[in-house]
Symmetry: D2
Subunit: 379 residues, 4 copies
């Protein structure tokens, strides 16, 4: 393992221990095994509100210690990296304090629940950069090898000028009207519904894969099940079940976006299709080791299923021999490796908070368009 | 074969002998072999402008005679059915005259190039109905067995309340900027581009599968290659290469629509997905014998690939044993059989001219929305 | 249409009017429409045992006349082609008489129920060739465009040296023990079970695709449901439900073969995979318009799904534009066209009776191997 | 984490640090995070021959120490489990010594290179069982959730009586004749080629999924590239490139087996199909989160794609929410958990050495059959 700026392993703290806390803990525990050239890390602290639960989780996930107070990370000199896996409405507060304290910061996506918060975070991150403090937002799907390969194809011009993009992210866990009310279905805690949760991934991929930004938006939101049963009776659902948008990028490509939590029968269906003047690709997260590629030189050949597990494919050298497929959680390990490499080499990791803010602005524009009857909004 | 109203086989004329003329001729030649209970037909006359070509085509396709003047069909008493396969801007003139002459009329889709023409045709068709003269527009995909099965599932309530529909029809024959200018790319002859040609199929299927109409539209058109080389030099392309729309149905379902002739690598990619509160299905025209079905009673079972070739599936009794797949052209034969059965039984065949007009209105609304910057248009 | 040797359309008779009679009638009725350069044909006579049924079928399928006596075809000068679609145990008698009478002969596969009969037929066919009388056996899958394209790839050396072939043909219509006894399950009428019915297709494709013959065989037969209920009570099933074999070709390639009528859930699953030193392809009859191709120059690219509907693909010029898929029955039309072209041009059509005999010998060797406990049999 | 028999975490040593050593280390490092009810483990020692390499690997993979002498594990009281990931010809020696020393033993598949060695190992394991010492062979694919679900379906009788099984495992890393000579291609070090490496997985799955054993074998081996270039010039390849077999199980089911390292274009293609009187399933390791299921009650419904990521599916409670797919390496973690649970609960873990021996006997019978010209061998 590489030396670190401090001459010792980088100390990491994760704030949050449920779904994302588990996934990020897994990444920190394993990054050294697969990416030996990344700087070494030490899993110092896991933070959570429930004392018993966080203690138990810290033990399972390989943490040296635990705390119920996230502010404790600020004072510890042995903690160099703060990784924020809380619900979205707490992202800004923790991240701003951590940057202020000189910690490198990772924030799970989406960057924040509001554009305002995201803008503050960007400012703080830019200020921190000046003193070598790094920050990143956790759009982990950038590290899916198949999508990294897709990006490489676009970068190399293999697709020519991109004209059309089709983005959809379809799940069905709210298809049943009997599915209960949770904090995820209240605007004050969740910010938005399918749009923020699923659409943010899709929009970040659009920005990333094309290397440009969305410039114009028209969209619509819909809540198909307007009330659900909660612990204290029926309650209104104040976020969207599904959202649609047409997005125009700065270069003039058109992207269609559809996200849903009520697409009966679909589990984790993030699908991306990109059509350019010289080629195209298709991707489906449920088969995340595959990229379907067509290039003009293939002639009438249709799409080729590339099993993205060869040593020359992005990230694959770190993992297993050809044909041995990776799972969803491996993307977090690769993300951690990329982050650590950037920290170690004094570069700004991507996606930056600015990238995260750019996504928030697109999502906010979709909401504004919906409020204005589908009007076209310029960004 | 059944007796006909005239005590002899129904005499048929087809106007047009190229792509659609070939497909419809094939249907009339074969309908009796597969649907013996339909009234018998006689292929009387094929009509086309080029004398040599229409004579040759008439010989190949099994027609007793040929003509270069479509008006000749009007006077012949032995012609009971006029089937209009001309370019779209001639549909109205031929159909109106044929109805006036008391002929049953089939018009290939789309019904007309403009809403005005379509409205006249509907009026004429309704008047003719009074005297038992029948008319139909040729949205042949209603006769794809898999889609007929899909409709049956919706009708039976197996999908519950339909919430989301995803419609796309992607081709790539204009992806290459070097593809030449043709009449299909001029507004005055073609009416519109991908929207009318491909979108009309998709919108008719939406109406048909859900048994309801589109009530609200927001859309956008795009011409990615604004000029193409024609026989007399570079010429502006005056129709769309691709189109997008969000459609709201009368019951409140939301459909997204995307059609393109520049989707590199896609050949004839009509895809339909319908998500309801109780189930869902998916369909792809390139595998037209398959329907992917999920119903709530399947539990976590995902989608089942149904090979729609069993005797209990729609239309299949007419064809081959299980597992022997049908091709694209078989849909026209089944369409002819349905038309003949309606004529014989004194019923109005579907899709009616009114169905055709309903599609035109949706397409016109997409164009209007595009002109008005994506504004939402009520129908 | 081309002139014929007789200066008039070739007169055709089909013997048999059920499943195969319907499929072949369909081919003769349509061949002129799609293959205008083939010599013209006239559907003269349909022959069958049941007077009412054959009369009705002749009317539906476009035949000028009908007969209950197949010998009547021998005396009619206006019949040039006799197409034998009877059950297998009658093939030899009809074909021999027709050749003797100077008729061109098509025999539906398999050529005969026994090697003895097949050998007589080959002798007769060879003798007839001397006087310009042609014969062919109807392995229609040679005319699937995707398989014709596959053969072209092998011929061009795109796969290098073929090493391994995987052949399977799986159906499930006998999976249910309650499926009734029929003539197809008695050795005296059917010859064999899955082996002859399904295995013959697979073995002919092996010969055809590789351009070589099977030289060595080891195999096994199995009847999973030994008795079935027939019209006159329970009866022993005397043919196989399933069969397996390893086949070595003259060049040393190894093919595995598995055929079954009890493969629950599989409808018409003929699958072919060919692996060579330089490339490979895969095919599935249930998606008969697709060929999955991998060649070494594709690098790590996996298999490309080729939708075999482009004008440069075999047979496709005759049919529809790209992406408009063909059905199972179109293969018979293309087969008729190839036969007619050979007759017209004075060539021997393929697959010849000798090709049919070669298949019979392989199947007989599988049966012998099974009798001898799986012993290896040289051909 | 549970208490262990010793009142402290179980100490583990892995012998071998390359491909399998990395995979098993990964499992021991992560098992506690995902399976908290399993007894705790401590990664004590990694053993390998190359001092520098094993030291570096121990650091990366989370081991407390390292050694170049596998015998050092025998004497250490803090090591309770010895996990043997050496090349196959060393399995027996290490495992026998470890059992003798009272260590629980895991041996990576195949159990041994010869039946003789495997028999000794079984004897030793049985003797050790008496004093509560446990042993297991590492057929990790038993822990693929989709295959565990498949086994459950068979166990529950959802497939009825199993009749036919199709097993294939196709790779292509030796397709190119220029691929170099290695120890894997010499009989003395590798035992056999594709047969042992790939066929052992397939045969163990057959035993496991059906809950019965192979009773009769007929097979064939083939080396398509008889010589390859090694460090010291061209050398004969003394193991098979590909193998075929027909296997009959004790209940009379027939399984076909095909394994290959020269199947151009196939990367890690383990495919399993099981057809029973009442249902069937299909599986492909390259999409290891999917099981395709057909049961009779589905009627004509074909196969359902089950994304095996739901909480009620085997192993899934330990991992991620629905739709978040697992990778190849997760199977080792689940295998470790199952092993630890058995140790902790005083049960014999499966697959046992006896299961491993049963596989070896089948593979040996395939080789014998090949030597005897494909003769049928009884087990």
């Amino acid at each position: 393992m590489s030396a670190t700026p401090h001459g010792r392993p980088l100390g990491v703290a994760v704030v949050g221990y449920s779904f994302m806390g588990k996934a990020h803990s897994n990444a920190w525990r394993n990054v050294g095994a697969f990416y030996p050239s990344a700087p070494a890390v030490r899993q110092e602290l896991l933070v959570g509100r429930d004392e018993q639960a966080v203690q138990e989780a810290a033990g399972r996930y390989g943490w040296a210690g635990w705390s119920t107070d996230w502010r404790s990370v600020l004072e510890r000199d042995d903690i160099d990296v703060v990784d924020v896996c809380t619900p979205g409405h707490l992202h800004a507060e923790v991240a701003l304090a951590a940057l202020e304290a000189g910690k490198h910061v990772v924030v799970e996506k989406p960057l924040a629940n509001t554009v305002d918060e995201a803008e503050q975070m960007v400012k703080a991150a830019q200020a921190a950069e000046a003193s070598g403090v790094r920050s990143m937002v956790g759009f982990n799907y950038r590290r899916v090898p198949a999508l990294a390969l897709a990006r490489r194809l676009v970068d190399e011009g293999r697709l020519g000028t991109v004209r059309e993009v089709r983005l959809s992210y379809l799940q069905d866990w709210l298809a049943d009207p009997a599915a209960p009310m949770t904090w995820r279905l209240r605007k004050e805690t969740a910010g938005s519904g399918a749009l923020g949760d699923l659409g943010s991934h899709a929009v970040d991929l659009l920005h990333h894969l094309l290397g440009e930004r969305v410039a114009q938006v028209s969209g619509e939101l819909r809540t198909f099940v307007p009330q659900r049963e909660g612990p204290s009776g029926r309650e209104p659902v104040t976020v969207d079940d599904a959202a649609w948008a047409r997005l125009r990028t700065t270069s003039g490509a058109v992207a269609s976006l559809e996200v849903s939590r009520v697409a009966t029968g679909r589990k984790n269906g993030l699908q991306v299709e990109v059509y350019g003047s010289g080629g195209a690709f298709r991707f489906d997260l449920e088969q995340l080791n595959e990229l379907w590629v067509h290039t003009a030189e293939d002639g009438v050949g249709g799409f080729t299923r590339v099993l993205v597990t060869e040593p020359e494919h992005p990230y694959l050298e770190a993992w297993w021999p050809p044909g041995h497929i990776l799972g969803w959680d491996h993307t977090f390990t690769s993300q951690a490796a990329d982050f650590l490499a950037a920290v170690s080499e004094g570069r700004s990791p991507r996606p930056s908070f600015e990238d995260g803010l750019a996504v928030q602005r697109v999502l906010a524009a979709v909401e504004e368009s919906d409020r204005r009857g589908g009007a076209t909004i310029d960004l």
